[in-house]
Amino acid sequence: MAQRQISYREAVAEAIIEEMTRDDRVFLMGEDIAVVGGAFGATKGILAAFGEERVMDTPISETAIVGYAVGAAMTGLRPVVEIMRCDWMTICMDEIVNQAAKMRYFTAGRPEMAMVIRTATEGGIGLGAQHSQSFEAWFAHIPGLKVVMPSTPYDVKGLLKSAIRDPNPVIFMEPIILYGTSGPVPKEDYTIPLGQADVKREGKDATIVCWGAVTSRVMNAAKMLADEGIDTEVIDIRTIRPLDIEAILASVRKTGRLVVAHEANKTGGFGAEIVAQVQEKAFDHLDAPIQRVAANDVLIPINRNLELMVLPREEQVIAGVKAVL
């Protein structure tokens, strides 16, 4: 029997429904998540299943959404809240960085801080410079936070379930362009541990580390390179913090060559952190300088052609790989 295929957005909803069924401390709040099931449809059907006591539409009050989640988590609930777009995480950074990430510390480890902040991230759909950013590098800089960005329906279900069960605040980033993509997802309960990278393709000539929406473009590039006889290994880290550096190092020790690809702006992106760790821990294995493939250091334009040009595509990934060979 062929495996069931569902979309990324359906996988998100399924994970939440399973976890809400399993644990009645889990509840949702966010803008437009209940009645219409989210601006991007990722929480569709959840209100119908659990009622408005556990699925709450909020006013446009990002600081209250996250701040209330902190208070609810400190008193034993497990909020899963949504900030509609990653760009608007800018509004509630105090609640995320100074409150959620630090509350266990300030209270001598007394409460669990089980809370998930889901957010649609990255670009690709013409929404422009205030609706296309991805700040995983910011969150990864903050002790106390975990940061996850799955690239497939399978991964998003398993990782979101782990995130909801995790006793720490988790920033859960869902690339907006992936919501409509489909893939095989088991109906049953399964989890994927946070902090475990996934080798999405094995290869021996070079390693490509990536996460988020660029992953499928990296996979395409890997196929195109294979046609030219270049055999790349593709590692989707899936979790940004904690980072599965061991998986990356193992691959680099084998291939001796590394490209890191992500969709956020290049300068100050999390790619730099991976480069820094790899060159430190596998210096002698590196046969060429590590290349980064990322968005140009510009703002994201709404024009379709320009946007495609700014975001990293197969072409840049291929060029990156060729540069390390």
Binding site: V35, V36, L306
Partner: protein, 325 residues
């Protein structure tokens, strides 16, 4: 200033122009000409036209994601605006900003914003410039009922009142914030009542009555110009479409609205219909004059469409423009 017959007829023409602009836009969005999304203000034309008619040429405007009407009412070159929404090089933002990022510095329209409430503090700063330079200007800030629950509303209003800054805050209460109805949005549904918290006047106006809007805004402008500080004008409006063209395209993008509401509002709350009847009653308008005005409006829109459709795509190197001075 009393509005003359000519003024009123011209205001009618402007309202019709805005309506046609947006209906035309919806058509072309359906055909794939609009990257991302756009938010039409159908049902809110009397607010744009009544408010902008009250402004002096030197006054500034800061607006929101739902701003086409504000620009057209101020006299912005429509082809440039439409080209922008289509993402063309001839657009006011070079095709990089789209519907949410319009501006027209020649008419002191300093910009619209993709962040709900994002303009509120900026408008305060514009007013601060006016105050410091002691010019005879006012800063006018449009925002919505949804924006009124963001923290920036509170911080921006308190400071403006404290420093007696010349700002007129116009809250278009169209009774929805995306899918959230007013009763789930504002604990006190009388938004104008919030003005007392900042010791500033708060007014409530019927947004289907373009003359009432004009008068309320004129009064607040006068007060600001005399050094009396900011005012809040809440204008009740009726959103005759869905939240955005993107959401309207979704199968159940309006499922959250009570059945019959949209039809009822079209019948009873359409400001153009209401104004048209008023002008007929006053003997200012008859079928012939109406046809002439509507034809003039249509001609503007047709010309703009032709211009926008035939405009070139932005040049690749334009991605690097306007990031640093």
């Amino acid at each position: 200033m009393e509005l003359t017959k000519e003024n009123l007829l011209d205001m009618y023409r402007q309202m019709v122009t805005i309506r046609l602009f947006e209906q035309n836009l919806m058509h072309y969005a359906g055909e794939g000409h609009v990257p991302g999304t756009g938010h039409v203000s159908i049902g809110e034309e009397a607010i744009a036209v009544g408010a902008c008619r009250a402004l002096a040429p030197q006054d500034y405007i800061i607006s929101t994601h739902r701003a086409h009407g504000h620009l057209i009412a101020r006299g912005t070159h429509i082809p440039t605006m439409l080209a922008e929404v289509f993402g063309k090089a001839t657009g006011c933002t070079g095709g990089k900003g789209g519907s949410m990022h319009l501006s027209d510095f020649d008419r002191n329209i300093l910009g619209t914003n993709g962040i709900v409430g994002g303009g509120i503090n900026i408008a305060g700063g514009v007013g601060l410039t006016i105050k410091m330079k002691k010019t005879d200007q006012v800063s006018v800030c449009f925002f919505g009922d949804g924006a009124s629950n963001r923290g920036v509303f509170h911080e921006g209003f308190n400071l403006a009142s404290l420093w007696k800054i010349p700002v007129v805050y116009i809250c278009t209460n169209n009774q929805y914030a995306m899918t959230l109805p007013l009763c789930k949005n504002c604990a006190n549904q009388d938004i104008s009542a919030r003005a007392t918290a900042y010791d500033m006047p708060g007014l409530r106006v019927d947004g289907t009555d373009v003359i009432a809007v004009y008068e309320a805004v004129s009064g607040a402008l006068e007060r600001a110009r005399q050094g009396g500080g900011p005012s809040l004008i809440e204008i009740i409006a009726f959103r005759l479409q869905g939240h955005s063209m993107r959401m309207d395209a979704m199968p159940d993008g309006s499922s959250y609205r009570p059945e019959g509401e949209i039809a009822d509002w079209w019948d009873n709350k359409d400001p153009i219909k209401i104004f048209r009847e008023k002008l007929y009653g006053l003997g200012y308008l008859d079928d012939e004059v109406a046809a002439t005005l509507e034809a003039a409006a249509k001609k503007d829109i047709d010309e703009a469409t032709e211009f926008a459709l035939n405009s070139p795509e932005p040049k690749p190197e334009s991605i690097y423009e306007w990031i640093y001075a």
